[in-house]
């Protein structure tokens, strides 16, 4: 079995902390051994808690309460010095906080009419090039891109055609930000749609439907020529798309895997190795996967157009930590193998994945 082999990576549970509120997102603070927990207190307010990892326990450094429950957060668009946190809340507000002075947000906008389900940032943390931007996806069916230097209006708005009924946007991710001009946003919706928006040309570059609501999308790296995209969905499935070759009609090649019966809530790539990613499941489990490229990544079809060839995915390890879904997951960008996950059993867990060097 996967657990027994001595050479396989082990998912070692390091610290567990019970919380007194519902945890929706957890993030490492870059360049530190500190992590953030974002969620909703029982009385309907939002909570941001800052913890520090001390030996075998987490020490609470700060607790910040906000009027609305917070659903998601990112450090992606902030500089390494500032380390401002961007959050989306249940009311559709996008806020950027300076955690040293959190009383008033550095940036605030009521970006959406309904809850912001997912947020991503790019252009910060010394990663990639181009303007710092934040993308939010909401239940109101729109995906909006914000520049922290521009108040009130988004720099890009992907909204339903007039008169069309909206679908819930569940997840957003930046990608392809390898120079100052290029950037794409990938969005996943509850009706199984995945749409790829090109921000340079302000157009829809690709769309597909994976037959199950899309819970999480992530590029393996935001700041390179887009290489791979993983999309996870309901019913335990995930798809890995090879994004290097786009066929005019068939789009991108993909391989899919059904890991388990329950929803796959999150996918996160290891910052230090873009071919390793972890998925978290509705059954409280974590699966560590490795993608292997095919011998030839592209081939010509009968008409001579280039089409991509998908590789294969193999399971490295899995572990069940909780009986409730693990809804959030984050790798530490600084320490290889260190990750934090938050589950709906109101527990935040810090894990260490060993033997990643040997893969």
């Amino acid at each position: 079995s996967a657990a027994a082999g001595p050479e396989r990576p082990q998912l070692v549970s390091h610290v567990q902390q019970a919380l007194s509120y519902t945890l929706f997102d957890c993030k490492w603070v870059p360049r530190s051994a500190r992590l953030l927990c974002l969620g909703s207190a029982a009385r309907g307010t939002g909570l941001i808690q800052l913890y520090e990892l001390h030996g075998a326990r987490l020490e609470l450094l700060r607790e910040i309460e906000k009027p609305k429950p917070i659903k998601c957060g990112t450090f992606g668009a902030t500089s390494l010095q500032q380390r401002y946190l961007a959050t989306g809340d249940f009311d559709g507000n996008l806020n950027i906080w300076n955690l040293e002075a959190p009383e008033i947000p550095v940036y605030s906008v009521k970006g959406h009419k309904e809850i912001i389900n997912s947020i991503d940032g790019v252009g910060g943390l010394g990663v990639g090039e181009g303007a710092p931007e934040i993308v939010t996806g909401s239940r109101d069916g729109t995906v909006k891109v914000w520049d922290p230097r521009q108040k009130d209006t988004p720099v890009a708005n992907m909204e339903p055609v007039q008169g069309e009924s909206k679908r819930d946007c569940w997840t957003v991710a930046f990608g392809n930000a390898y120079n100052q001009e290029e950037r794409v946003v990938c969005a996943g919706y509850d009706n199984g749609d995945i749409k790829l928006f090109d921000l340079k040309t302000m157009s829809l570059r690709w769309e597909t439907n994976i037959k199950n609501g899309v819970c999480s999308v992530e590029f393996d790296r935001k700041d390179i020529n887009m290489n791979k995209l993983v999309a996870t969905s309901l019913e335990g499935k995930f798809h890995v798309f090879d994004m290097r070759t786009q066929h005019p009609t068939k789009g991108f090649a993909s391989v899919s895997e059904k890991a388990q019966k329950s929803t796959i809530w999150q996918v996160r790539h290891l910052p230090q190795n873009r071919d390793i990613f972890m998925t978290s499941g509705g059954s409280g489990s974590l699966h560590l996967w490795k993608y292997e490229y095919p011998a030839q990544r592209s081939k010509k079809d009968s008409e001579g157009s280039e089409m991509g060839v998908a590789g294969s995915v193999s399971l490295l390890q899995n572990v069940t930590l909780s009986t409730q879904p693990i809804s959030s997951l984050d790798w530490s960008p600084d320490k290889k193998g260190l990750c934090v996950c938050g589950a709906f059993d109101q527990t935040v867990r810090v894990l260490i994945v060993t033997k990643l060097n040997k893969i």
Binding site: P132, D147, V155, P160, N191, G213, L234, I352
Partner: protein, 422 residues
């Protein structure tokens, strides 16, 4: 009568008795020998040897050796004493019988005891085996746990080391940061110091208006975030219109539910179609005329008055509104009979019968009627055999109906009549 075998020479010591039994050619196996405390029997049909011993012996230790056409017995005495003779001299028939039975019983008991002992030892072996396996598994588990624990400790140590490094690094960074926060000026890296003097770009403060990307002339007390100089301007705002894969349900799409959802939609579509078709064609109908039951009653009344065509119309309309009411077809069949539309009558009766499945006591009367009407139609078409079939079916449901019986009889006569004549 068995052929008796007699023992040959016997001799004894205080502890044991030895004698041999010639077998006269018979072949002996260990099953043939039966021995108990005081009774010895060798039975090789048709030969038989029986002896009631002088004194009890220890039969578990005594032996019998078969060979050379003989059985050589070695019997160990229970009490060391010299025997007067091998067998009891005056062993009368009753004593013999008693001893025999006793012997058999004793043997059975012994067998039982042996089995019991065997069972107990087996159980103990099993228990022992189980315990051993459990211990092994426990050891294995512990080994894995220990490995994991070791990993954890190693990893924890590494983590602590790394954290220390971070902290030291952080301290260096945070000191200038804290100091400058008061003045809201951000820390500047050394290589940017040169660029500091080039241009000043007002940066975004918490409550200031949006940045103008051109080199602003108004100086600002806020920081020179020189990172921004190298950053492109905010994008020109634009909208991308999105079309979604259509989905009727507000819930998320799940593959496993698709079949259910399709079925539901299909049913809704059906219902809507019926309502719509009526609405479009029969807009001038009154409210009550859209109710199939009302129409059925109306049809019945019209039928009673003798207007068979009118009744058919009423039933037609009712069927269009609801095609799954058996009584509508039943009554229309009656109309068709009266109108001598025999084929239509058969059709409608058949349809009614179809809808009247499953055949339960509740729809008995309806089924009887259907069968009778269809039977009548068949007969009027001179298809007497089929007609008889239907009548008999009707009789089966309702055996006490005299009319049906009489009619059935009539038809039988008719059939016989035609057979005879043809």
């Amino acid at each position: 009568m068995p052929l008796w075998l007699r023992e040959e020479s016997w001799h004894q010591t205080p502890a044991a008795v030895y004698f041999s039994l010639p077998l006269r050619g018979a072949r002996a196996t260990s099953d043939c020998i039966f021995c108990s405390e005081q009774y010895l029997k060798v039975s090789i049909p048709p030969f038989l040897f029986e002896a009631v011993l002088y004194a009890p012996i220890d039969e578990t230790n005594s032996t019998a050796r078969i060979g050379n056409g003989n059985i050589f017995f070695t019997l160990y005495k229970k009490e060391p004493a010299m025997w007067d003779s091998l067998t009891l001299a005056n062993a009368d028939k009753e004593k013999l019988q008693y001893l025999r039975e006793n012997a058999v019983l004793k043997a059975q008991e012994k067998a039982k005891e042996e089995m019991e002992a065997k069972r107990i030892t087996k159980q103990e072996h099993k228990k022992y085996a189980l315990e051993a396996t459990m211990k092994l598994e426990e050891a294995e588990r512990k080994r894995i746990e220990d490995l994991k624990e070791k990993e954890r400790q190693k990893v924890t140590k590494e983590l602590e080391l790394w954290k220390k490094q971070q902290k030291d690094g952080d301290k260096y960074k945070s000191i200038p940061k804290k100091g400058e926060l008061h003045q809201e000026i951000e820390p500047l890296k050394e290589r940017k110091n040169e660029q500091m003097n080039k241009t000043r770009i007002p940066s975004e403060g918490a409550s200031k208006t949006s940045l103008k990307s051109t080199k602003g002339c108004s100086s600002s007390i806020f920081s020179q975030n020189l990172m921004e100089e190298q950053l492109p301007a905010p994008r020109a705002a634009a909208t991308i219109k999105v079309n979604f894969t259509p989905r009727v349900f507000p819930t998320a799409l799940r593959e496993s539910r698709v079949a259910e959802e399709e079925e539901w939609l299909h049913k809704q579509a059906e219902a809507r179609r019926i309502i719509n078709s009526d609405l479009s064609e029969l807009e001038d109908l009154k409210e009550e005329e859209k109710n199939p039951d009302w129409l059925k009653d109306k049809g019945n009344k019209i039928f009673a008055m003798g207007d068979y065509l009118g009744a058919v119309n009423a039933y037609n309309l009712a069927v269009r509104l609801n095609s799954s009411l058996p009584l509508l077809y039943l009554n229309r069949a009656a109309c068709h009979l009266k109108l001598r539309n025999l084929h239509k009558a058969i059709e409608d009766s058949s349809k009614a019968l179809e809808l009247l499945t499953p055949p339960v006591p509740d729809n008995e009367t309806a089924r009887v009627k259907a069968h009778v009407r269809r039977g009548t139609a068949f007969c009027q078409l001179e298809l007497y055999t089929e007609g008889l079939q239907d009548y008999e079916a009707a009789l089966k449901i309702d055996p006490r109906n005299k009319n049906i019986e009489n009619d059935a009889e009539k038809i039988r006569q008719l059939i016989q009549g035609t057979m005879q004549s043809s």
